[in-house]
Amino acid sequence: MTAASATAMPADDDIGEMLRKSVQDFCARHPGVARTRRLRDTEPGFDPGVWRQMAEAGWTGIPLPEAVGGLGLGLAEICVVAEELAADLASEPFGPATVAALAIAGGDNAGLKQRLLPAIASGELIASLAWQESANTLDALHPATRLKNAGGRLVLTGEKHFVPGAAGAGGFVVTAAAADGTVLVWVEAGSGGLSREATLAVDGSMLSTLRFDRVEVADADILASQTATSLLLPRLLDEAAVIATAELLGIIRAAFERTREYLGQRTQFGRPIGSFQVLQHRLVDLWMQREMVRACLEEAIAACGQADETQRALAASAAKARAATAALHNGRQSIQLHGAIGYADEHDIGLYLKRAIVKSAWMGSAPVHRKRFARLSGYVPQEAGEE
């Protein structure tokens, strides 16, 4: 195995490898780094034309049933595409949109699914999950956002933070406390009473705060009942953490490979700097972390396919915690090993660190997942409100 060829092994090797190859070919034709540079600090922050082509390739509907235009595949295949697109630094919101698609597909509202899923698979509709009300949490089941019955009509009131890809989203999957417990609600972008405020993230993407001020919700827009939501959300957050891990692995791989090449080319003191032992050992340590991210990702994908919820949660948190820490470390070291040019905006290596910072935080930072792992290991007592 060489550094360049090693890739995560999906559940079905053949389908996964075909998919991987087709994403790589696509990225060679549409280099993501160029789009990230061109579209950073703007909204929606990605190229809708490229998204349409991704939809034509089927990537917007990987886990969706074939009946709605999806591919009927699983988390392993999602992770292959997420990893490769992230390695290319593509700016399209593949990860967040796929998480939202999983949420919709996992709900118990057949009519709404029939309305939304074909549009998601075809690329016409991008959804985003709006669940977070504070930083550094993995608790989605106890929102302060309320769905209340006001004179026979349901109205949604509350605030969600850090929603990725919101400017390009046609609608949001929103967690809300209803009379009988937490439910998922579908809210279209542009609904009356919905306002949005964007904050620029370091990689040039936007994280939005959504304010719901008595937004009217039809019964038909309850995406998942209380029963369905309580089953769906914990699994969804674990799967989302695993998808984030795959994205981080892609970022690590790409930054690592560029750094490895640089060490072979850059000459100082009459020798390629990659011949210096101290730099060799440092690169080996980065490589070992990368390989462990890969191994943890594979185990987490497998654990998501098993019935044991604790094992699934442990594996997902172990994977995301390691990937987040490794990606930040790998990103910083990539710049260090490039020297001064690494700190220059004109060089691409800094783009990987910035994307790594954003993706390390998405779906739970390393400290958040370490704490959860500690609780699940029985090292500290469960906190109220935790699964």
Partner: protein, 379 residues
């Protein structure tokens, strides 16, 4: 035996361990002496279970890699002491591949029957990580080699019947080229053994001196001057066991026990560090299982597998360092720390974790190899 379901295979191993392994030698905080371990060695040999990875035609169990790992996992779980295993892991496979029919007939049965104990003579005072600079010399004199020189860090040398060693047979070629592989009877006149005490206070390894030692030409394995390549080629799938998470898994359980006894779970900073160690163990386990899966699918392992050895041995050290620090004054005890109902072998674990980053190719050498062979960095 490869056809047995894993659970049945485990059950069979456990039954045998319960029956044949001496209870008082379980989880010993030192390497058992030859006299202590011999009944176990003989019981394994009598059952034909001493060489799990050797082919059946040579008296081995012929286990698949999956079953082989289960075998060592169960022995570890039972807390068995280390056997004199250099011939089982290194010499046997080498003789099977390169030995003459006469050498195989003479030496292999005595190894699998546990009748002869071997030690390994590779390192020298001036040849550690740079093994190819070895100077112990063998000169042909009629039908014998005459060996002069010195080996060091030779485990089990005081108790070994035979030694397999690398010697220089040609000084006029490149360093690696002039090395040969010999087998010598430890009773041969001119061989002297001086035990060396290690940090645990055990004389587990030794210096071995060769003073005009006559070794029959028939005891040359493979071609003359080609011993280096041969010895190096022998890094098979078993290398994966150097990266087994078992030692670290055991050590972290001891660390958790010590933490419970000392109330350390109330210390958030400690819990953070413990959690990180657990996560590091989880990643080691995931990586280990990944490589096992590759071997089971028939993938030939490359040099990248040594990441397991590096990570496993360094993690073992970090866990045991945490034990010593957590123990405070008790962490400095030379012998086990005793509580009313529990004994925790803090110092034993700590010292046990010290040499693995040095032997089997130091971790610095492993990183050099990974940098060049896997990452393709310039020399």
């Amino acid at each position: 035996m490869n056809a047995l379901p894993d659970a049945e295979f485990r059950a069979e191993l456990r039954a045998f361990l319960n029956e044949a392994y001496p209870d008082h030698l379980r989880y010993l905080d030192r390497r058992p002496t030859i006299a202590e371990i011999r009944p176990w060695l003989e019981a394994l040999a009598a059952k034909g279970w001493l060489a799990p990875h050797w082919p059946r035609e040579h008296g081995g169990m012929g286990l698949s890699i999956g079953k082989y790992l289960i075998y060592y996992d169960e022995l570890g779980r039972h807390g068995t002491g280390r056997l004199p295993d250099h011939a089982l892991h290194l010499l046997g496979p080498l003789l099977i591949r390169y030995g003459t029919p006469a050498q195989k007939a003479r030496f292999l049965p005595a190894i699998v029957e546990g009748r002869e104990i071997w030690c390994q003579g590779y390192s020298e005072p001036g040849a550690g990580s740079d093994l190819s600079s070895l100077r112990t010399e063998a000169i042909v004199d009629d039908d014998h080699f005459v060996v002069n020189g010195q080996k060091i860090w030779t485990s089990m040398a005081p108790h070994a019947d035979w030694i397999f060693l690398l010697v220089r047979t040609n000084r006029s070629v490149a360093q690696q080229a002039g090395i040969s592989f010999l087998l010598a009877d430890m009773k041969t006149p001119g061989i002297t053994v001086r035990p060396i005490m290690n940090l645990k206070g055990e004389s587990e390894f030794a210096e071995v001196f060769f003073d005009n030692v006559r070794v029959p030409l028939d005891n040359l394995v493979g071609e003359i001057d080609k011993g280096w390549t041969m010895a190096k080629s022998l890094l098979g799938d078993e290398r994966i066991t150097l990266g087994s998470p078992r030692q670290s898994a055991y050590a972290i359980e001891r660390l958790e026990l010590l933490a419970r006894k000392t109330g350390a779970f109330a210390d958030a900073a400690f819990v953070d560090r413990l959690t990180q160690l657990r996560l590091d163990l989880q990643a080691l386990g995931a990586s280990f299982r990944r490589y096992v899966g590759m071997v089971e699918r028939g993938v030939r392992l490359g040099p990248d597998v040594s990441m397991l050895k590096v990570w496993a041995t360094e993690l073992f050290q970090r866990i045991t360092a945490e034990m010593v620090e957590l123990g405070g004054e008790m962490g400095s005890f030379r012998h086990a720390v005793r509580f009313e109902d529990t004994v925790i072998d803090v110092m034993n674990q700590y010292l046990e974790a010290t040499p693995p980053t040095i032997y089997g190719g130091s971790n610095e050498i492993q990183r050099n190899i990974l940098a060049k062979a896997v990452l393709g960095l310039p020399g």
